[in-house]
């Protein structure tokens, strides 16, 4: 019955491409707060932030994907995702929208261990769906 299962995606733009998280894994979308720099970590880990009393690490999406540093402006924000119980903030240049999609219309990524779940088309744009647990480099 997979063809009838649909969900919602939170789409965002980075490096001219549209990416998305399944909305069930997103807990917050917040303005970029003050981020405390963490030493001795990879460059794409921006540091840690205070999310209502919880200390949450923040990752730069572009840095994680290996893109050129994008321009951050007032539209930039942090998407907080729940990676199997651990929260992770992901800094993105801009969030677009929450849009419905059909899971059957997703073509899965053929690459093993990729942080991309698959690709789908919304309207006339291709959307790359990201698995936040893979993205978080958890268990590695």
């Amino acid at each position: 019955m997979a063809s009838f299962i649909s969900g919602q995606l939170l789409t965002f733009e980075c490096d001219g491409t549209i990416y998305a998280f399944d909305i069930t894994s997103v807990t917050d979308i917040i303005e970029v707060p003050e981020i405390t720099v963490l030493p001795m970590v990879a460059e794409h880990i921006l540091g840690i932030m205070n999310l209502r009393g919880k200390v949450v690490p923040v990752m730069d999406f572009a840095g994680r994907m290996g893109f050129e540093p994008p321009e951050y402006d007032m539209h930039s924000c942090i998407i907080v995702v729940d990676c199997e119980g651990a929260l992770l903030g992901i800094k993105v240049p801009r969030v677009i929208d929450a849009e419905s999609y059909e899971k059957s219309a997703v073509s899965p990524s053929p690459v093993d261990n990729s942080c991309v779940v698959g690709y789908t088309v919304l309207g006339d744009r291709r959307v790359t769906i990201i698995d936040c647990v893979r993205l978080s480099e958890k268990n590695r």
């Binding site: 720099v37 990879a42 205070n50 009393g53």
Partner: protein
């Protein structure tokens, strides 16, 4: 199927908590009295513990536990009643300890439905045998006491006195108690003049009743009613009136015993529930049913009304439990009642003529006899836990949540009082400032109180060790004394909980490996008693727990050899200091005992112990002297979550150094500074030459390299390692709530590089907390002295 009565799940936690506490209490009493004297108070207390467990287990529907407790209760009953009795005490203790273990084990497995309830019947029969043996002994003693048969009929008996003889079943455990109950239950229908035997409290009464039956002299109007009450009594075989041959008794007046009838009130349904004969505490079962019934409608009345009274027990056993309820779901309610535990039958009673309504009232009457009896157990309870009324147990998670909330409040409060918007307000803020100060005072106090709630004495962790040592003494024959020092030292509940397992390992090791056998001690010329000392105390914000034995001590050479054999040495043998040799035993895969014993020697103990302690920010160290004994010391922060830190800045980054690691803070003068030929920066502090560790370098913080004279040096010492930690400036001295770093950052191994966690400060900013020990280890600071 669930192990316990449905609807009791919510009570499970309380039951587990209370029973565990009671069993610990029991262990303590047993331990204390085993080596000295079993006083009457002790027996009463053990009796109370078993009684309470019996009751609460029965309430939970855990029949096996309740029966087990009952069997032990019986034994102690005999012991209590015969204080002079000489008997096999070791056997008594063995049985008691086994019971305690069985019950503990059962309680532990309660939550797991996959483990079936244990069948204790075999052990219970052992207990019964012992009880019989004790009873046999007490009989022997009682021979001296006057057991001559009391004459049933005296010559000067006034007229109107009637005599009833009750015979109990052979299996009846304590006929004297049953007899007493009977007397109470006929109290309303007849006036009891005397009984044979006269004193039901006497030792011999049980045997006398067994042999000759129980004779009651009474005067009454309605003999049949009295007889029917008596016949309905538990374990009663026969009850009949006996008459003196010569005198003719007046014919009994006819009066039909009241038949149970339902309430005639409209809309009210009446149920009568009878419980199985084997049901231990019908009043409790009744209460459970009553509570469950509340879901079906509005309870009007129950008979007996007061389920707490002792008389209710007998009444329910005899007359059943009567419930009147306003309900529209009578059928469902009836089905529920029938499904209840130990329920023999449950029937709906039809409404009867109003005249018959008096019957239930009469049935309730025996209740009047209750108060006198009730006093006794109440007094017992009072003796056991005088403070019980002023104590309350709370789930630890709730306290944790409270602590978190308070921390948040403190942060938010300072966010409000130092809000940037306030600056925009022109004019005085005097009133606001005053209120803000008040608020700050209150929140500070609140924080203190919440912290103090969580403090418990380490006694709880210590007392469990007595049991461990006692058991080992029995099997190893070492006769070790366990001494406590400073057991009233308080620490955070979570700290005390964590201490349990490590202490167990250490104490076992001390008794098993540390203390020599009596022969070895004699050969070594040691005259003092083998002793293991557990001590606790505070030292600079930490709880220090040590376990010291006066045994054989450890031989560094032997440890090294063993380490070599097991291939766990990491550097040339000649470089190992004694302290490092002792540390070997905390390495994985090390066991010095040649033979693996029941208690230790699997070689997994000490490294697990160390890991567990380090996990919670504690430290463990070992001292030893060959032939004199060893000392294991554990240091754990008072509270796991809140620590005192010094805030420092290094290249603009806020870092916090735990105050407990810092010995001295000073601003270096240029004449104190040196460099060794390799360029390593050194500082002379009095006669100490210390390596300088720049926090900025250690944590790879980008920025300008500041001359040492412009900064500040924290002389830190951890675990025998010392160095001068250099930072740009000192910013604050504060208390912080430590939060671990997200598990998503695990792969960067920040903890082993010296960053143990982080904390949110009052203004909402985050500070990183350093772990000086890890920092030193990671940066190759050598251990310069033995760990104390």
């Amino acid at each position: 199927m669930s192990k316990f009565d449905a609807g009791m799940e919510s009570m499970l936690d309380t039951f587990v908590f209370e029973s565990t506490e009671l069993l610990e209490n029991l262990d303590e009493i047993l331990m204390r009295s085993e080596s000295s004297e079993l006083t009457a108070d002790d027996i009463a207390e053990i009796f109370r513990v078993m009684h309470t467990i019996k009751g609460s287990a029965a309430m939970m529907g855990l029949k096996n536990m309740s029966e087990l407790a009952h069997a032990v209760e019986d034994i102690y009953f005999v012991v209590r009643e015969n204080p002079e009795l000489e008997f096999d005490r070791p056997k008594l203790y063995e049985l008691s300890f086994t019971t305690s273990d069985l019950l503990k084990n059962e309680i532990e497995n309660l939550g797991d439905d996959s483990i079936p309830l244990t069948d204790f019947s075999e052990f219970i029969s052992t207990l019964h045998e012992f009880a019989a043996y004790l009873t046999g002994l007490s009989k022997g003693e009682a021979v001296a006491a006057p057991t001559e048969t009391h004459a049933i009929f005296s010559d000067d008996e006034p007229e109107g006195v009637r005599t009833v003889k009750v015979k109990f079943q052979e299996s009846c455990m304590m006929p004297s108690i049953r007899a007493m109950v009977l007397l109470n239950s006929i109290g309303s229908d007849a006036e009891v003049l005397s009984t044979v035997p006269p004193d039901l409290d006497a030792e011999s009464s049980d045997d006398e009743i067994k042999a000759q039956g129980f004779v009651i002299k009474l005067s009454c109007d309605d003999m049949d009613a009295v007889l029917s009450i008596l016949r309905d009594g538990v374990d009663v075989e026969t009850a009949e009136e006996i008459k003196r041959e010569a005198s003719a008794a007046p014919a009994p007046k006819p009066a039909a015993p009241a038949l149970p009838a339902g309430s005639s009130e409209e809309g009210v349904t009446t149920f009568l529930v009878r419980f199985e004969e084997g049901c231990l505490m019908p009043s409790i079962r009744a209460m459970v049913l009553k509570n469950s019934l509340a879901a079906y409608g509005q309870l009007v009345k129950t008979v007996p009304a007061d389920l707490d009274s002792d008389a209710s027990e007998e009444e329910i056993a005899k007359n059943g439990f009567r419930i009147e309820i306003k309900t529209e779901h009578a059928a469902e309610a009836l089905a529920m009642l029938r499904d209840g535990l130990n329920v023999l039958s449950a029937d709906k009673l039809e409404a009867a003529a109003p005249a018959a309504q008096a019957a239930p009232e009469a049935q309730a009457a025996p209740k009047q006899a209750a108060p006198a009896k009730k006093d006794a157990p109440a007094a017992q309870h009072g003796g056991g836990g005088g403070a019980a009324g002023s104590m309350i147990s709370v789930r630890l998670e709730k306290l944790d949540r409270l602590l978190d909330l308070v921390a948040e409040i403190v942060i938010t409060e300072s966010g409000v009082t130092s809000s940037p918007d306030l600056r925009k307000i022109s004019g005085g803020l005097d009133h606001f400032q005053k209120s803000a100060r008040e608020l700050k005072k209150l929140t500070d106090e609140l924080q203190d109180v919440v912290m103090s709630i969580r403090m418990v004495p380490v006694q709880t962790a210590f007392s469990k060790m007595s049991r461990v040592v006692r058991d080992m003494n029995k099997t190893l024959g070492k006769n070790v004394d366990l001494v406590f020092v400073g057991a009233d030292t308080e620490a955070d509940k979570s700290v005390v909980d964590i201490l349990g397992d490590p202490l167990m390992h250490i104490v076992r090791n001390a008794v098993d490996h540390g203390i020599e056998t009596p022969e070895e001690r004699a050969a070594a010329g040691k005259t003092e008693k083998p002793t293991v000392t557990l001590s606790a105390g505070y030292e600079s914000g930490e709880v220090v727990i040590s376990c010291e034995d006066n045994g054989a001590g450890m031989d560094p050479k032997k440890l090294l050899a063993k380490g070599r054999k097991n291939g766990i040495l990491t550097k040339p043998e000649s470089e190992y200091t004694d302290a490092e040799c002792y540390e070997l035993i905390m390495a994985a895969g090390f066991s010095t005992n040649e033979q693996v014993t029941e208690y230790s020697g699997r070689g997994v103990g000490m490294d697990v112990v160390r890991k567990n302690i380090e996990k919670v920010g504690g430290k463990m160290s070992i001292e030893s002297e060959l032939g004199r004994g060893s000392k294991f010391t554990i240091r754990i922060p008072l509270s796991l979550s809140i620590i005192d830190v010094l805030g420092v800045k290094a290249n603009g980054t806020e870092l916090s150094v735990p105050v407990s690691s810092v010995k001295e803070i000073f601003r270096p003068e240029s004449e104190m500074l040196m460099k060794d030929p390799d360029g390593t920066e050194l500082v002379m502090l009095r006669d100490h030459c210390l390596r300088v560790i720049r926090l900025a370098d250690a944590f790879e913080l980008k920025g300008e390299r500041r001359p040492l004279e412009d900064g500040i040096i924290l002389y830190c010492k951890e675990n025998g390692r010392e160095a001068a930690v250099f930072a740009d400036e000192l910013t604050a001295d504060q208390q912080v709530v430590v939060k671990p770093l997200s598990i998503l950052l695990n792969k960067y191994e920040l903890k082993s590089k010296g960053l143990s966690g982080c904390s949110i400060l009052a203004d909402g900013s985050i500070t990183l907390i350093t772990d000086i020990n890890e920092l030193f280890v990671h940066n190759g600071v050598r251990q310069t002295e033995a760990v104390k």
